[in-house]
Amino acid sequence: MATTAPAVPAPSLHEKLLRIWETPPGLFGVLATVDHKKIGKRYLATAFLFLLLGGLEAAVMRAQLARPDQHLLTPEAYNQLFSMHGITMIFLYASPILSGFSNYIWPLILGSRDMAFPRLNAFSYWVFLVSGIFLYSSFLIGQAPDRGWFAYAPMTGSTYSPGLNMDFYALGLILLTISTTVGAINFITTLFRLRAPGMSVNRLPIFVWGTLTTSFSMLFALPALTVACVMLYFDRRFGMHFFDASTGGHPMLWQHLFWIFGHPWVYIIVLPAMGLMSDLIPTFCRRPLVGYTYVALATVATGILGFGVWVHHMFSTGLPAMSTDFFSAASMVISIPSAVAVFAWLATIWHGRPVMRTPFLFAAGFIVLFVIGGVSGVVTAAVPFDWQVTDTYFIVAHLHYVLVGINVFPVIAGFYFWLPKMTGRLLDERLGRWNFWTMFIGFNLGFFPMHIAGLLGMPRRVYTYPAGLGWDTVNLISTIGSYLFAIGVLLFLINVFWSLRRGRVAGPNPWDGPTLEWAVSSPPPAYNFALLPTVGSRHPLWEERLNEPGSRSRITEGPALVEGRETLGVSPLDAQANEVLTMPEDSLYPFFLALSLLVTFYGLLTGAWALAIVGGVLVLVMTVGWLWPSAPVEEASP
């Protein structure tokens, strides 16, 4: 199918590179590997597991809400479930799943051999895992966070929440921000240092632009969450007064800090997914993306504007009109870059020759859901109308159109698209179509009626509702639809497990894709590229056939770098090779550092200060051990 030959290395070179790059099998290899592909797959599997857990929580809630005045759940159980559903989906699924794709794909699509900081990458995953374990261990003692993912003070203070529930929340999220922050630093450094020579910034895939923008947003947004959670923990554990209005604190401080973080976070969990779509749609429309520069700029603009809209979560808190008007305008303006992206996709489809494979079906469905979620967002940016719909099921509908539409649908599309690269086998097309239509119909059936429930006055976060308010039918439909959606997700899982054994062999480039990840075998070897490629355009594997003027990429020739784990370092913007980077060996330190953090945080949680100190000392020892040079330090070669 593809006319550009994949880069198949000579057997001797292959053996030599494998010896250098491959992680040894066995327990040591499992815990010590720094291979971005292994870490990426772990991220994907773990985040997907959390999607299933969050989905299970939702399924129980939908059963409770199917009819009025039901008693399947106690109010306390419901409140823990809806809080953990939000925390799970937003923190443990939506962002990590995209980190998973980026981890796996970035070095391949950028033409490199690993991330800039492979050990930090391993650490990032382990901390994500332990923070998930930490948060979920709260269920073991029946004290899961129960104040919503937004955790408004003062209801989270020890007066109104005496259990450990919100300590799990505050500490669990602080732990998770460590993982996310080092991940962001890693992506940014990788982008600016570890690309194929010639891949100047105007040749980056949009998916890379998405993750890059997201990573910068994380660096500026996450500290607001950290500060808020530290204050919450100090208020609860040490009797401080940050959110206590009677002693000079103020509950609105929490809301400001939380939403300064929270709104950029919404863009953080959609921009890489939108980027993925911007690369996937052209592949299936058999033409380059229309308006590459517009879409790249729109991505960055959205990331920046995302910091100027947080108050639209607070329109009913009695802020002065001057302030709400500004944030209302900003919240409307931010939809323009999204409109740019939507019309770039539409134009690409219109001027292309689309092939109805499963990834494209999910992409087309994504565009529709994105628009519904987008316009319902604009509707809520209108302050007086927001006073009515805020904190109703209208918002529940809106946010699920945004998060499921712009995250889950692209993620499933991404699996159909890239899983063959990871496993070497294609998913089944027929089952794929069933999968798409079940999810698409189920989702709309489940979530569209929630708009109506909201307009009928049904508030969010209620464990039950009385009969006779006109909410019964829409809720029953929502429950049926959401179960259909869940069946769709199960069909996807069946397809994945089926394909692992029986799937058609994919070959290096099953979709005839344009970018570098399709130039290597499926699954790629541990070293990614035997000969490090040079890039001459945005579409290295299409450029021969597009036959456009300009330089040509070189896929089948380049430096092999066989003196050890080595890859090329480039200049930040125009990607000129300027050094050979020695990459680290596998290491157990990241794993044990993450474990030490877990010990520390359990100490902080329970007030077992001795345990916290032991953990802290271990953290110090592991960090110094990690950074201590393993081999005698040599002079840099000239």
């Binding site: 380059p288 009109a321 219109w350 529709v368 628009v371």
Partner: protein, 309 residues
Amino acid sequence: MLGFHGVAGSREAVLGWVLLVVAMIVTLVVSLLVLAGAWRGRTSELLPPQRTGGGLRWIVIGGIIVPTVILAAVFVLTMVTQAAVAAPSAPPTVTVQITGHQWWWEVHYLDRSPSRIAVTANEIHIPVGQPVRFELVTGDVIHSFWIPELGGKTDLIPGQRNVMWLEADSAGVYRGQCGEYCGTQHAKMAMSVIAEPAGKFNQWLVLQRQPAAAPPDPDVAAGERVFASSACALCHTVRGTLAGGRLGPDLTHLAGRRTIAAGMLPNTRGNLAGWIANPQALKPGSLMPVVPLRATELLAVVAFLQSLE
């Protein structure tokens, strides 16, 4: 449906419906373009990639110009609506202070002379066709005051006093519910606004200012004694009796209310008895404890409460 019985609410609802119609048109147009585009050039094979010209016009027109025009219009409409609902047409004559509690609403009809302040709970009477000023405070966590048919929400936040107004344009009973998640029984923190002609409203308000009328009946008198000497009086006030607790709703004119337990149950003899006998069964987590009463005591307390017109 939201809005249409309140002066502010109607404006908000009109804005909302205009926005929703625009939103549906945009969704429809884009969905049709996806379908048409996918149908138009569809192929079954992955053809060789090819760059056909054009397409940028889509972005400039569909992605920039059209949305900017729509958004500008929407923003103007938003600002006009916001200005229109910012203040009532006439200065309100009635000011109601709402205090949110986990999980009920304390209602004070403010007056310059303290003796004329009326206190009630969960049911707010207002004169129809007149704007009413609401001052919103909370006794514990954040709540949100919301009567969907009359207007939008305003939060009750510790450390600040928010102000809003409502005006009902037709008489009726309008259900409201806490709009901000406030803990275990957030779902059952309802209230109602009863909009009635000014004369009827004033009569009601005068009655609310009075202490409870002396119970003429021996059962009622027995109930009053039980109420005043048991845990009931630690939390509830019945003006004109010894009961002066401040933690729970003022019950001075309880019998005049339509519902009990913050809009949860109709105010009937059976419901009242059931609620007092075991509030935790009906509203788990409620701050009202189970007060151990013998059956005769329970019936006497119910009789007493039912006498509080």
